[in-house]
Structures are given as C-alpha cells and as structure tokens.
C-alpha cells in the first residue's frame, strides 16, 4: 500500500491547489463585478477654513458684518450688499447695474468679489455680449469692472448662456470657471477654464462638460473640483493633481427630481454637502426667488460607501 503513497499525495496536492485556485478566481471575479457597480467615492471630507475675506470698502463705509450678497435680481439689478437688522439696509450704487444680471460669485483672499453673468427674462441688444465676461468688484474701492473677456464664449438665440459658474482656489490664487455657450440639445460642449488671477492666463481648458456650479473639495483621497451638471440632476467630481484637472469626471450622485440641477454646492459638515438646485433648461430664467430653489443634504456614508440624499 505504501508504494502508492506518492500517487495519493500528488492527487491530494492537486485537489487542494485546485480548490484554492477555483475559489481565488471566483473571489477575484466577484470583486471585479462589485467594483463595477459600486458608488464612486471621493473619500471622507470636512469643511475647510476659507481664505475669503470681506471686501475692504465695507470697513470704510462702517458697514459691519454680517453682510449678504444679493444676486436674486428681485429688488436690485446686478449686485447688492444687504446688511443691518434683518438685512433691511442695502448698498447698491447705480454703477453696479451697468453689466446686467449676475448669476453667482466667488470671493478671494483679499476681498475681491468675482461675478459671472446671467441672462434674465428678456433679451436685450447687450445680453449676449455681457455673458462673455467675468466681472470684479474691487475690494478696496467697491468699483465694479470687467475683469476678463472670453472671445471663445459665444451665446446665441438657441442657448443664451455663457460664463456660468466660478470658484476661487485659495491654494494657488486661481479661478475655476465654467462656460456652457457651445452646447445644444444634442451635444454637451461646455468648457471649464483654469485661470491665473494675476496674469489672467488660461492655465488649463477642459472641454465637454456643462457645469452649472463649481466647488473645490479636499478629502482623504485628495483634491477634487465638484461640478453640478447643467444637463442632468447629478453631481460630478474631477480629480485634481498638482493643479491639473483630470479631464474625465466621475458621477457622485443624482438628485431625485430630474428637472432640478445643482446650482450651489457647499461643504456643510463632516461628509456632508448642501446642494441647492433650480429648474434649468437652457431657456430664460423668470423666477429667482428663494421658493424657486430646493435644498438637499447629501451625506456620504463611508462604511456603506453610499450617498444619502434628503430634501431640507
């Protein structure tokens, strides 16, 4: 009987090895499958202290904080700063109306406010040209001026939108800007620009994404540029490495209502985003009031690797 021991042993070795190989392969396969359907994670994150400072001219005018930037276009055209008890006082020089209506803004570390335009209710002869620019409200003087003009932004009757979203990067003193003018019903041809504030030079130009809102996020996995899509009710993330944007975004989450598009993104707490949405259809906007917006809390559950989205 002993003489068959090598044969028996070799069979046992092959059987055990076979068992391990089959199981290992199944494991690998299921891992691949799971990876395919798993939700994209940007890691854990917390609110970062902003470097933005209030405009210096407020001090000269003896206007104390808190001050609210009003771009609702309901009481004031352009920009107005609301302050005082229940924000009933308003600072709104006539010159702040000269560039039409503004959609959103960002503030830099010295208190300059950068504004992007918005077409509103009716088209005037100046409307399309105004959508090609970024505007700057000077921190020291409160003077509103044209900061930068984009020749390649060309709004038209089928898409009156131009420059649409903006966010300031405290780390390298740059602006991230999105324009959506080139898109039409079939094609998404929006552009994200990375702009050096001092030289006004375009550092990077990423094509093919319509962003209605932008926000920077630093997480356990690195730095990201978050973008609310103008075409769908979804939030995307572009990873950022050494100031260079990865041109392929990852979809993070989708809101429950298909007509709502994310207009503002705020990091409100540990793993918590506040998303403000508006109905957006690349047609003219008539309503900009508070009741026309919807607010969502999007909380990232690291354990379950999923977003929980709840209307506020």
């Amino acid at each position: 009987m002993r003489k068959y021991l090598p044969v028996v042993l070799s069979l046992i070795v092959i059987a055990v090895t076979g068992y391990l190989v089959v199981n290992k392969k199944k494991e690998n396969h299921s891992a691949v499958t799971e990876n395919r359907v798993s939700v994209k994670s940007v890691g854990t994150f917390s609110p970062q202290r902003s470097c933005a400072r209030p405009p210096q001219f407020l001090k000269q005018l003896n206007i104390a904080q808190p001050v609210v930037i009003d771009l609702s276009q309901k009481r004031f055209k352009g920009i107005a700063l609301l302050y005082g008890k229940q924000f009933q006082k308003a600072l709104h020089p006539k010159t702040w109306e000269q560039y039409g209506y503004f959609g959103t803004y960002t503030v830099d570390k010295t208190g300059n406010i950068y504004l992007v335009p918005m077409p509103f209710i009716s088209i005037f002869p100046t409307t399309f040209n105004l959508q090609k620019n970024i505007y700057k409200l000077e921190s020291k003087t409160g003077k509103l001026s044209l900061f930068m003009h984009f020749d390649d932004v060309i709004p038209n009757a089928n898409n009156p939108y131009g420059v649409e979203a903006i966010v300031y990067d405290c780390e390298d003193d740059t602006l991230w800007i999105a324009a959506i003018d080139e898109s039409d019903y079939q094609r998404q041809k929006g552009v994200i620009y990375h702009i050096d504030l001092r030289s006004k030079q375009v550092l990077q130009r990423v094509e093919g994404f319509d962003a209605l809102s932008l926000q920077l996020l630093r997480s356990s996995q690195g730095k990201y540029l978050l973008a609310g899509s103008a075409r769908e009710s979804a939030l995307y993330a572009f990873s950022l490495s050494k100031g260079i944007l990865n041109e392929v975004p990852e979809k993070l989450l989708t809101l429950p209502n298909a007509t709502e598009h994310i207009r503002k993104i705020k990091v409100k707490g540990k793993n918590r985003l506040e998303l403000q949405s508006i109905p957006f259809s690349y047609a003219l906007i008539a309503q900009t009031g508070h009741r026309d917006r919807t607010y969502y809390n999007a909380v990232w559950n690291e354990k379950q690797q999923q977003w929980k989205i709840k209307k506020q």
Binding site: V7, S10, I14, S122, I123, N257, A258, T259, A283, G289
Partner: protein, 630 residues
C-alpha cells in the same frame, strides 16, 4: 525512478497545467457579456392625444367621482377607505379620525370643502413614531393613518392608540404624497389599461396581469409627476424579452394619463427620469424644435416647427398645389398694465415684480404703464419664458369647415398671478381661407392689462406682390407704412361690392390681381366671443434679418405708440411690385369683472371639492380669404 513516483509526477504536472489553463480561462459571465452586449433601449416619449373626459367613462373612475360628489353633498370632505382595505382595528381608527377635529382641520377653505382621500390605515411603523408615541406603543397596539388633501397637496399622518382609542399625534406634510389606497391603485391601473396611447404602443389590449405598479413612493418620496402639486403614479408594462418597459404616468388628481415612456429595464429607468414635464420637453424638442414637421390635410400642405422665441411657425404652405404662405408666426406678446399715479412715479431705478424686471412708461392723464415682453418657444435651449406644452395639435374646427394647427404655451406656474398662457393657432378652411390666431388665457398680474401679440405674415402669392387697403376704393401701398385698422369705412362703403365691404386689405400677385388674398380683420364676427382686434397693421419690405429667422423680443412692452415694427419702416422703402411682409398687432384689454371676464383665468374649488381652473380666453387675428376661387 519507480513507476509509482513517475505516475505521481505525471499527475502533478498534468494537474498544474489544467489549473493554469483554468486560471487564465475567461469566466463564463464575462464571455456572455462579450458575446451578447446589452443593447441600449431607445427612450421614447408618448404624450397624451386625448382629452381627460375619455377616462370619466371608466366604471372605476365613474364610481369614484360619484362617491366624491355624494360625500361633498353630505358635508364631508374625506373619502373613507373601503371596508375591504381595513382590519377591525383599522375600521375603528377610521371612524375615530373622521370625527377628530385636529385630523380634519385642513379639509375646509372658508365654507368650501376640500377633497381628501383616506389612503391607508395600518399597524404603526416604528420609524413613523415620535418619542412619546413610541413609549406608549411599546405596550399598546398602535395604528397609523394617512390622508391626502388633493387641493393643498398635503399628507396628514395620525398615530392612534387602538387599545384606548386615543389619537396620539397628528402631523401634516405639505407638498408630500403618501402611498395610495388600493382603490386608487385600481383606478390608476384602469386609466393605464384604457389609455388609447398605451394600447397603441403595446400593440395589443393589455390586461391587469400585464401591469406592475411602480414602487414610486416607498414612504413619502416625490411623485413621479414633476407637476409635484399633483398625485401621480406610474403603472408599468414590462417586455422582458426586449428588455424594455412602457411607463404610463397617471395623474390621479386629474384622473388622466399624463405621459408615457418606453425605457430600458435597467437602473436608468428610475421614476426620477420619467417626470411628466421632462418627458414633454424631450418629446417637443426631438419632434418639433430639432426638425420641421409636415401636415397634409383637406388640400393643405403645411410645414411647421417650434421656434426658440417666435412661437409656432408655419412655413411653405400650399393649398391645392398653389403657394399661399412663406411664413406666419407670432413673434412676441407685449404685456402692459395701466395704473394711475404716474406723476409720482420714480423711474430712476428698476422695479421687479415676481422676479421680473418691470418697464415703466409715463402716459397721459397721470397714468403710467408697466409690464414685460414675453417670448414663446421651445422648452429647452431657447430665449423664451413662456414655454411650449404638449406639442402642436391638429383639431377639427367647430363648424366642420376646416381644421386648426395649434400650440399651447405656458409659464410653468400658470394660472398663478403674473404667469401667462398663450395659444398660437392657425385655422385652415376647406375653401382655401386661413386665419392667424392668437389666444390669451390670462392670468397676468392684474385686471388692467393690455396685451399686444405681434403677428408676422409673409405671403407667397407670387414672386412680386402688391398690397392694397380699402377706403371706398382699393389703394395701392407704394411704400412701407402702417395704420390703425379702422372699421368705420367698412359700413360706409355701401356702394362697393359686398366682397370689398368685408375686407379692409388685400395682397395680390403683381402680375395677376385676381390671384391673392383679402384680409378680413376680426371685429368679433367669428363667433369666438372676441371683442375685436383693434389692431395696427404694418407692411414692410422683406429682409431676411427682419423676422424671417427667429426674432428676439421686439420693441417696448409698454409704450403703446411703439409696437416694435416701427424700426423697420423708418426709411419707407418701396414695396410696390416687390416682396411685402404684413405685420399685424392686435390690442386687447383684459377684464376681470364677474360675468364679463376676458383674457382671464381663475382657480376655484368646485362642487366636487377639487380645484378647477376656469379660463376666459380672448381670441384675436385676421382671416385671409382667397380673391379668386381655387
């Protein structure tokens, strides 16, 4: 080496080779995926083509409406659940809650009862309980009950201790919809099964067994209708072989099919993607904004499309082979409101009402005018604020003497104040006549509005045409110009032929004056309750940039001496034997006086306890009648 050892080595070598082969062999599922890639299903949208009245003949709907009417007549506002949906405890809870003042508090508006449905009564779910209720319900039996208020779009949830028959809590959720009752589920299924659009799409008459009811509201999620003030559900017909499903969005507030959509069975077919409004928008964009459509009926051939800001445009229209129109459309609606107190008006800064910039113009007698310019057009990628709903429709005329092509444009929030609804309509008659019609359905910001639709009509009678007006005799317009369309000369021109009596203008071929069209302004003679056009007419020389393509808003909303077209006639160019274009700008004053409403809409609570929109349209526009018989 011994023989046994050789065999063992052989087994090891062969075994290792087999395992290596297995390791590098692709998994079966991956092979399947490679061989049979999933085919993306084209998402196709179907909009309802029938009035909601067709659903009121369905027995389930008839009985439901009759029960609601009986209930309101009895002075009750909550339609109870049927006994078959309730266990014995739930029956007690229903009786208790129907008499509970807190639970029924929101069922009246003034003296009017508001339609509510009890939706479900079931043992309380732990996550629905507050702290106080949770403590009690640990030792007692508790039930939760939910009702839905169809008028205020509010869900009320009560927690009841059935051991002591006490109401522990009542909470209201505004803008939220609950899970629906079994009765409403059956009604939704019946509507989906009876919808002609669904039968046509499926290619057979479906049965109840073919439906799966979409789990669209696990607890109180958003309704799939994007008109979220309505209660909507989405019964689904799945075709597993083709890996697609037909989603029928049923509006239970209106009791009708709201829209339907073919979609894949994958994860993309979530209820969030099938909202009524987004379905409509996609359908309208694909079929009417991205391409021309073609209609051939009763001898007429019409190309039509929706524009970015000039409403519904018809182009290249022929009747029995003869060219009639190159283009006709309404490019703009000027909306102005007249107010007293103009002497104190400060126009140094801009004013906004409901988020809209308001233009002010000082008038005479201390009056002033303010208002907006409204562009109508495609719902996506356009410069419009009054957007196309439902796509163009073809309907027979009341008298049976022709048909109309019509398009509905609305502010999404109509009929709320400061929201508008317009209809662009083209009527085509069997005798070769046609009429360009603008219909205003209110409601606007007040009862003192003046509406001015700007109509552009480019005829195609011949390459060279002449335009005439009639003031006792036909007078050729040599140059561009404008005039108020008067009525007085018509009744005075008794010596003229009856034909010339009726028509204020004509446009004819420069070569052959017997070929062309008379223009019959509307003075209220078309039996549509119109109070007349009171129009200004302009004739300009054709220029491509003057409206042949999409025109952005034109002129002032509120300066009544400026219709916008004046800028095209400043140079008074020659138009005789040329290519004249007609611009026709009616002027309508709205009326909100009870019994005299005109260009007005109102929302009222009806005898059935539900909201009903009442519309008093005003209809304007000239008729074009062929000079010679075709």
């Amino acid at each position: 080496m011994k023989r046994e050892n050789k065999v063992a080595v052989g087994i090891l070598v062969i075994g290792i080779l087999v395992l290596a082969g297995y390791w590098f062999m692709p998994q079966s599922s991956e092979v399947t995926q490679t061989e049979k890639p999933s085919i993306p299903v084209e998402e196709r949208v179907i909009l309802p083509q029938y009035e909601k009245s067709i659903y009121q003949n369905i027995p389930e709907v008839q009985n439901y409406l009759a029960d609601i009417r009986k209930m309101i007549q009895k002075g009750q506002a909550i339609l109870p659940l049927q006994r078959s949906e309730l266990d014995s405890n739930a029956q007690k809870v229903q009786v208790l809650l129907l008499a509970d003042p807190e639970f029924t508090k929101d069922t009246k508006q003034g003296e009017k009862l508001l339609h509510n449905d009890m939706m479900r009564i079931l043992p309380a779910i732990i996550s629905s309980l507050g702290e106080k209720s949770r403590n009690i319900c640990q030792s007692h039996t508790c039930y939760q009950a939910e009702k839905y208020n169809f008028v205020t779009n509010t869900t009320t949830r009560a927690i009841v201790d059935t051991d002591t028959l006490k109401v522990l809590s009542v909470e209201r959720y505004s803008g939220m919809q609950p899970d629906i009752s079994l009765r409403l589920t059956h009604i939704a299924q019946a509507i989906a099964l009876n919808a002609p659009e669904v039968k046509k799409e499926l290619g057979f008459t479906p049965a109840r067994k073919d439906i799966t009811m979409a789990n669209v509201r696990g607890t109180m999620k958003e309704s799939p209708c994007e008109n979220t003030s309505h209660l909507c559900v989405a019964p689904t017909f799945s075709d597993h072989q083709k890996e697609q499903a037909l989603w029928a969005v049923v509006d239970l507030t209106e009791l009708k099919l709201a829209a339907a959509k073919w979609a894949g069975l994958g994860k993309t077919a979530t209820p969030a993607c099938i909202g009524e409004r987004s379905l409509q928008n996609r359908y309208i964009m694909k079929h009417f904004c991205q391409k021309d459509s073609f209609l051939e009926k009763n001898g007429w051939k019409i190309t039509y499309r929706l524009t970015g800001s000039d409403g519904l445009e018809i182009r290249n229209v022929t009747f029995r082979g003869h060219k009639v129109l190159t283009s006709a459309k309404i490019v703009d609606w000027h909306v102005s409101y007249q107010q007293k107190g103009g002497e104190n008006l400060d126009t140094s800064t801009e004013t906004y009402i409901e988020g809209r910039r308001v233009e002010f113009v000082k008038g005479e007698d201390g009056n002033y005018l303010f208002g907006y310019n409204d562009a109508m057009g495609c719902p996506l990628f356009s410069t419009s604020v009054v957007l196309a709903f439902n796509g163009p429709q073809v309907r027979e005329l009341k008298n049976g003497d022709g048909f109309m092509l019509t398009q509905d444009f609305r502010n999404p929030k109509w009929p709320m104040a400061c929201n508008y609804r317009y209809e662009n309509r083209f009527e085509f008659y069997n005798d070769g006549s046609f009429r360009v019609v603008g219909v205003n359905k209110g409601r606007g910001c007040g009862d003192n509005a003046i509406y001015r639709p700007v109509m552009r009509i480019d005829m195609a009678v011949d390459e060279k045409e002449n335009f005439y007006s009639y003031d006792g005799e036909w007078k050729l317009w040599e140059k561009e110009g404008s005039e108020k369309v008067q009525r007085s000369f018509l009744s005075n021109s008794v010596s003229e032929t009856s034909e010339a009596d009726r028509y204020a203008y004509k446009i004819v071929s420069a070569k052959d004056a017997s070929r062309g069209y008379y223009i019959e302004p509307n003075h209220g003679q078309f039996n549509d309750n119109s109070r007349g056009d009171n129009a200004t007419l302009f004739v300009t020389r054709f220029k491509s940039k003057e409206g042949d393509k999409d025109l952005l808003t034109l002129g002032s909303c509120c300066d009544l001496s400026d219709d916008g077209v004046e800028r095209y006639i400043e140079e008074k160019e020659d138009i005789a034997d040329d290519h004249p274009v007609i611009w026709y700008v009616p002027r309508i004053r709205n009326d909100a006086r009870e019994g005299h409403e005109y260009c007005w809409a109102d929302t009222v609570i009806g005898e059935d306890g539900n909201l009903h929109v009442k519309v008093w349209p005003c209809t304007v526009g000239p008729k074009f009648v062929p000079v010679g018989k075709r």
